[in-house]
């Protein structure tokens, strides 16, 4: 498909959002105050696993300025459990009821006039616990039958299933070589600088509960929140608030919003609850994947990949809100960019006494990418093949798209060889290979790592429930809506419904699409965020879906408005509608320069209805709502041998990392880095590049620096930013970004998602580079994050 030239789409315009942020007028959740607002602070569990025997709040109630002290039992008495897409037997409240299941779980909430007073009151609360053994190691937790995280389950294995696709038996048994690797991906998390927060205001007068929250993706699921809050679904309003980053961690962050809501309903006062950093690290809704793999790749002696076999144990922590959605996600691209023809995928979801998993940029697919690339490297080393050669040999050829992978998902478009070739060019592969060889003579260890991997976008709801034979709620809609309105002066406003700004440039993207549609200046467009009382169906950002879905909705609404403008213009100019087009801010007669300005038409349509002989259906005003549904999704087969199409908009990237390993300390330093992406049609190259670089930076953090560590009793060892280290400007090198464009045949403008991209591939590329640096020692790097001490020890062993 040819790449079209657009006027505004594809231009690196400066963002519309920035002025308020660079002047300190950002209005994030903690910047908002309401009259008579009070503050909530949480007393958290000091134990990983314990029964709550007694809570004495009397001391806290005596502290001057304390408005209320609320326990889990209070919540259970008045409200329903938190929303849950996982397993109905795993019940969760914002505060622990009867039992605490991880260090940091909320036990008591203090609401006070002043946050300092709330903090003081926490110290006056006495909780008596009966400490239970803590389940920290998922492999041990799996075997454990007496100590259970949730007694209702009867086991710590909350879900287990094997799925097979393609002719697995045949492919596996006829392969010449099977490479097998045991892999460990440790848990990290998004840790945006702005934690989750909410202000809830229950108005006794109207019975309406309004919650300001920096949680995202709430609109479509607001009825679930209302259910937890035991409030009529049409009496709950959520007001989006600028969020300082999300990367998944504000995706449907229900705990904070619901807790604030519950506290406000109990106290009849506005209540603000904003997590501090320790709260967030210990108790957020979203830790990342925590996996142990036994993975195998069946290969021919010529290096052709035939079959993939995966057995993965995933430690979900103490709750199971999304079920194994992070694995459903993986099945969208489990075979990577390769023509692997069959898959056996076994997932064992285990519960332990840790905080729950949720979403972190990639939602589990970044882990699958890494796993697959580890196998590819293992296979090529066994066969003595070059990394470029083995990938090129196995890529899905560019003329085979749309391509169906064994699981049933489709890949819409792609040119994987072109992306790899470009990446080699951008990094100057030959130059680095020479430098690597020269460096060896000085005893220096330099390595180059290549990773080619997928970045699926626009999720469908099916990945959450196709695991179950009889799913309770086989939801399939994941729409997005906008409202476009043109005011009497011709100025356009876009209303978004499912989020506020969280770093993803929604205003700029929306403005560029509107500008493209109407031929106007994007800086003339205003983008606003509606609360849910006026909400159209909207799923919100997640799975890199947003630009595509909003573009589709804008396009749909634009068509309606353009038709109306043409209808009005046809009447006034006395021409046929089909002879008119909307271009350059005007309604023009095709092929001429004659026409009417949109602004002029808008005034007439708004205010001068009866001055003209407009057709009956042309009512006053220029507002259009449009709901855009997933452009291409199909249902899974009953027997699940084919999962249907659920994530077909398939972006792709090749990352090449160059590292140096200090042979005396084991330290890894990044020397160079290239990221070449295919995100289809690019809306704004500047913001896209920013997203990719930011994603790579998080991927570097994941690969080298970040891990939630626990001792054997389940005590977190690094619950603050002193211990949990995210990279600074010194650790992140300059990332060279470039693009290949294969537009999607299924989306508006051919756009593909890009938000997760950088982090989807970086953790796969970096271990490849480290192994390359250590190739003469034959050291494998099968754990994330890469531990420098382990490299030191491996080097020491090998030099004996």
């Amino acid at each position: 498909m040819a790449v079209t030239e657009f006027t505004w789409i594809g231009k690196p315009i400066k963002r519309l959002e920035d002025r308020r942020f660079i002047t300190g007028k950002g209005k994030y959740i903690d910047d908002i105050s309401l009259p008579r607002m009070c503050y909530a602070k949480i007393l958290r569990s000091p134990y990983a696993h314990a029964r709550i025997k007694k809570i004495d709040i009397s001391g806290a109630l005596k502290v001057r300025g304390v408005v209320a002290v609320v326990t889990g039992n209070d919540l259970a008495k008045h409200f329903n459990p938190l929303p849950n897409f996982g397993d109905p037997r795993v019940v969760q409240y914002p505060l622990a009821v009867d039992k605490v299941r991880y260090v940091g779980e909320g036990v008591v909430a203090v609401v006070a006039e002043d946050k300092y007073v709330a903090e003081d009151a926490l110290e006056k609360i006495d909780v008596e616990y009966e400490v239970l053994p803590a389940l920290i190691d998922p492999e041990k937790a799996m075997q454990e039958t007496k100590v259970l995280v949730h007694e209702s389950l009867g086991s710590n294995i909350v879900f287990q299933k094997t799925m097979r696709f393609g002719n697995f038996e045949k492919d596996y048994s006829t392969a010449d070589i099977i490479v097998k690797e045991k892999l460990r991906w440790n848990r990290s998390s998004a840790e945006p600088l702005d934690t989750a927060g909410a202000i809830a205001d229950y108005d006794e007068g109207t019975g309406i509960l309004k919650i300001w929250a920096n949680s995202l993706t709430f609109t479509n699921f607001i009825w679930l929140y209302a259910n937890s809050l035991k409030i009529p679904t049409n009496k709950l309003i959520i007001q989006p608030v600028n969020a300082g980053g999300s990367f998944g961690s504000k995706f449907y962050a229900h705990k904070v919003a619901c807790l604030a809501g519950m506290l406000s309903m109990l106290t009849r006062r506005p209540v603000k609850y904003v997590e501090d950093r320790v709260d967030h690290i210990l108790n957020s809704d979203h830790h990342g994947s925590d996996r142990i793999y036994e993975a195998e790749l069946a290969v021919t002696k010529d290096g052709i990949f035939k079959a993939l076999r995966v057995k993965v144990i995933d430690d979900y922590g103490a709750y199971f809100q999304f079920g194994v959605g992070t694995h459903g996600n993986s099945l969208a691209q489990v075979t990577g960019p390769y023509t692997i023809s069959s898959v056996e995928y076994t997932v064992i979801a285990v519960l332990t006494n840790k905080n729950q998993q949720g979403a972190y940029r990639g939602f589990g697919s970044e882990v699958t990418n890494w796993m697959l690339e580890r196998l590819v490297e293992s296979a090529r080393r066994k066969l003595g093949m070059d990394p470029v050669e083995i990938r090129m040999k196995n890529f899905i050829p560019p003329d085979k798209f749309p391509y169906k992978i064994p699981t049933g998902n489709m890949y819409d478009s792609g040119n994987y060889p072109a992306v790899l070739r470009k990446a080699l060019q951008v990094i100057d592969y030959e130059k680095w290979r020479k430098i690597k060889e020269e460096a060896k003579k000085e005893g220096r260890l330099i390595g180059i790592g290549i990773a080619s991997a997928q970045d699926r976008s626009v999720f469908s709801a099916t990945e959450f429930w196709f695991w179950f034979e009889k799913p309770a709620a086989p939801v399939t809609s994941t729409p997005e809506s906008v409202t476009l309105s043109i005011d009497p002066m011709g100025k356009i406003t876009v209303t978004l419904y499912s989020q506020a700004m969280w770093g993803n440039s929604p205003e700029t993207v929306a403005a560029q699409v509107v500008a493209e549609e109407f031929g106007i200046d994007p800086y003339d467009v205003n983008v606003i965020y509606a609360d849910t009382s006026r909400a159209l169906p909207a799923t919100g950002p997640g799975g890199s879906r947003f630009s595509i879905m909003v573009a589709g909705a804008i396009k749909g609404a634009a068509e309606i408005l353009k038709a109306k403008l043409k209808k009005a213009a046809a009447t006034i100019m006395e021409v046929k509608e089909e002879d008119l087009e909307v271009k350059e801010g005007m309604v023009k007669i095709k092929g001429t320069t004659k026409g009417m300005k949109i602004a002029e038409l808008a005034a007439l349509v708004h205010m001068f209805r009866h001055n003209y002989n407009f057709p009956k259906e042309l009512t006053s005003g220029l507002t259009a709502d449009y709901t855009f549904d997933h452009p291409y999704t199909t249902l899974p087969k009953e027997d699940r041998s084919d999962l249907g199409v659920f994530y077909p908009i398939m972006a792709h990237a090749c990352h090449i990392a160059v590292v140096e390993v200090d042979r005396e300390t084991g330290f890894v330093k990044l020397l160079d880095y290239a990221a070449v992406h295919d995100c289809g049609t690019i809306i704004n190259p500047k913001t896209l590049e920013g997203m990719i670089i930011g994603g790579v930076a998080q991927g570097i953090g994941t690969a080298l620096y970040e891990q939630h560590l626990y001792d054997q009793n389940g005590n977190p060892l690094n619950a603050d930013f002193t211990g949990y280290i995210i990279p600074t400007a010194i650790e992140i090198p300059n990332i060279k970004v470039d693009h290949v464009v294969t537009p999607s045949p299924f989306t508006p403008y051919g756009i593909k998602g890009a938000g997760e991209g950088g982090r989807m591939i970086a953790p796969a590329a970096i271990p490849n580079a480290v192994e390359d640096a250590l190739e003469d020692f034959g050291i494998k790097v099968n754990e994330i994050p890469i531990n420098y001490e382990k490299i030191y020890r491996a080097l020491k062993e090998k030099s004996k």
Binding site: F21, Y116, E191, G694, G695, D720, T728
Partner: protein, 167 residues
């Protein structure tokens, strides 16, 4: 779990006079009130943010008597007699400071949460080092964490601002 906390401390309020963004303020404060809370909650200048509580992230960076400091790790009472500059004080009469302009022009922010702290740190850094190399800039902002941008465009922006400010 009741801790044996020290005997209740009735702390005397301390009177402070402070100049923030050119405006004089006087308040009686609890000594334990953190400077960042004073700036945000008492003065209502919410552009300075809190990101971590343990002095790592730099989102709370302000200029105090000409030095960039982490306001979450200071008591407001320490600022008695001091001159403070926050992000809100940078633009003059609606005209953006060159550093602010450079951040916008170079796409040096995505969610914007770390941005005020980074701009203030850059403000101090460029006074110290008006002609920095890229490596010096990276070291100069190593006390500020950003989770969105990967720092690359921030470094570009500060470099661009340094050139603009020399003119």
């Amino acid at each position: 779990m009741a801790k044996s906390a020290p005997a209740k401390m009735e702390s005397k309020l301390v009177h402070i006079k402070v100049n923030v963004n050119g405006v004089d303020y006087e308040h009686d404060l609890e000594p334990r009130l953190l400077l960042v809370h004073y700036i945000r909650d008492v003065l209502g200048l919410t552009g300075t943010h809190i990101g971590c509580d343990t002095s790592n992230c730099g989102a709370c960076t302000v200029i105090l008597n000409g030095k960039s400091v982490k306001s979450c790790t200071m008591f407001a009472v320490q600022a008695n007699g001091a001159k403070i500059l926050t992000i809100e004080g940078l633009a003059k009469n609606g005209e953006l400071h060159p550093i602010q302009k450079a951040f916008w022009e170079n796409h040096a922010l995505q969610c914007g949460f770390c941005t005020p702290g980074l701009i203030m740190q850059a403000y101090w850094f460029l006074q110290e080092n008006p002609n920095p190399t890229e490596e010096e800039i990276r070291k100069g902002i190593s006390g500020n964490l950003c989770r969105c941008t990967g720092y690359q465009n921030i470094v570009k922006a500060i470099m661009a601002a340094s050139k603009e400010m020399k003119r």
